[in-house]
Symmetry: C2
Subunit: 207 residues, 2 copies
């Protein structure tokens, strides 16, 4: 009877170590910028030597790639299903906005990195990350279009509204602080009101 049956497996511990490195590296990247962080810096923060990182990642860029994956694949897997749930487009959009902001909060360090350091990815990796982002954007545009057809949303152009909404939401991780100003819940509900209720024009459809 092992205490941690799952975490004791060799592959599972390896994966945990990888995730620890990715999380630690993301924090360092966010603080000082990808280019100004050396492999030895990441290793120090984890508690090992620089060269030992190469037992987990083939290159520094692979670590950045892992960070970027968590902020583009996770939202696709966790948030987008909300758009397939039952309910009006306005309600489904509001659910997505909430999930989107909460993911930006939960992974705010990784999001800061993912938004600025895209240029340091290899062309193939960047193409994949871009694909996720574009897919997410397309799904949001589709629900906005659906809301326009159902009459709940009254924006002049679905594509323009999509850009506006996503840029406004994604900016959140750049300025939010836990220790001052509005609380997370304040921001989430305030943004639902500003975005879905006002910008998209579904004021009555949410209550």
């Amino acid at each position: 009877m092992t205490q941690e049956p799952l975490a004791s497996s060799r592959t599972a511990r390896t994966r945990l170590r990888r995730e620890e490195i990715v999380t630690t590296a993301a924090r360092t990247f966010a603080d000082r910028g990808y280019a100004h962080v050396g492999m030895r810096d990441i290793a120090d923060a984890v508690g090992i030597r620089g060269a030992s990182l190469y037992h987990h990642f083939a290159a520094k860029e692979e670590i950045l790639y892992a960070v970027c994956l968590t902020v583009t694949r996770e939202p696709c897997e966790e948030n987008l299903p909300l758009l397939d749930a039952a309910g009006t487009p306005a309600r489904r959009t509001a659910m997505l906005v909430r999930a989107h902001l909460r993911h930006l909060y939960r992974r705010r360090v990784e999001h800061l990195v993912g938004l600025h350091e895209m240029a340091s990815l290899s062309p193939e990796h960047r193409a994949e990350i871009d694909g996720h982002r574009r897919y997410y954007q397309r799904r949001v545009r589709d629900v906005i279009t659906a809301g326009m057809r159902s009459g709940e949303f009254t924006v002049p152009d679905a594509q323009l509204a999509t850009f506006g909404v996503l840029d406004m939401l994604n900016g959140f991780s750049g300025w939010f602080r836990d220790d001052r100003g509005l609380s997370l819940d304040d921001v989430v509900e305030g943004y639902v009101e500003l975005v879905v209720g006002r910008m998209l024009g579904a004021r009555g459809a949410l209550d």
Copy 2:
């Protein structure tokens, strides 16, 4: 009243050369990322040798600093005076949104650099750039607050609305393309409607 007779003045030509280097460097930074661009790359694009750049700038970071200055100081000098003009807060805000987007367009290359490469600035330079940004943000928040007092704007929280508006606007330079989709004028007037008319709630106050 000293008037520049021609570009033949020694100091004037020096300044033009500097601006040419900054513009060229900004384009290269935007394409490949600051860290992946060498002094020799910038020099090649200008048509001189790498070491010759040091007759115009003391360090690579000074070039980045010059790029960042044009996208934070220029909006303060050119856009903010519109907030001091006559008119209701709603109209003044609409004017600012238009000027802001047109500046993002005119300097879109520099804005792309300024938004992601902040981490490569020296602490002093970053502090100055941050200061300009914060001042701009404060002025926008002030006009939104004024609009709330005058009753034109009905947002729940001025600070939250400020973040939302500026993040939405600044995202523009990241996705706009001249050769496809909406025209610049379409975006400008569409965003005025979405931001001032809908998000801030001044639908009637603009006509």
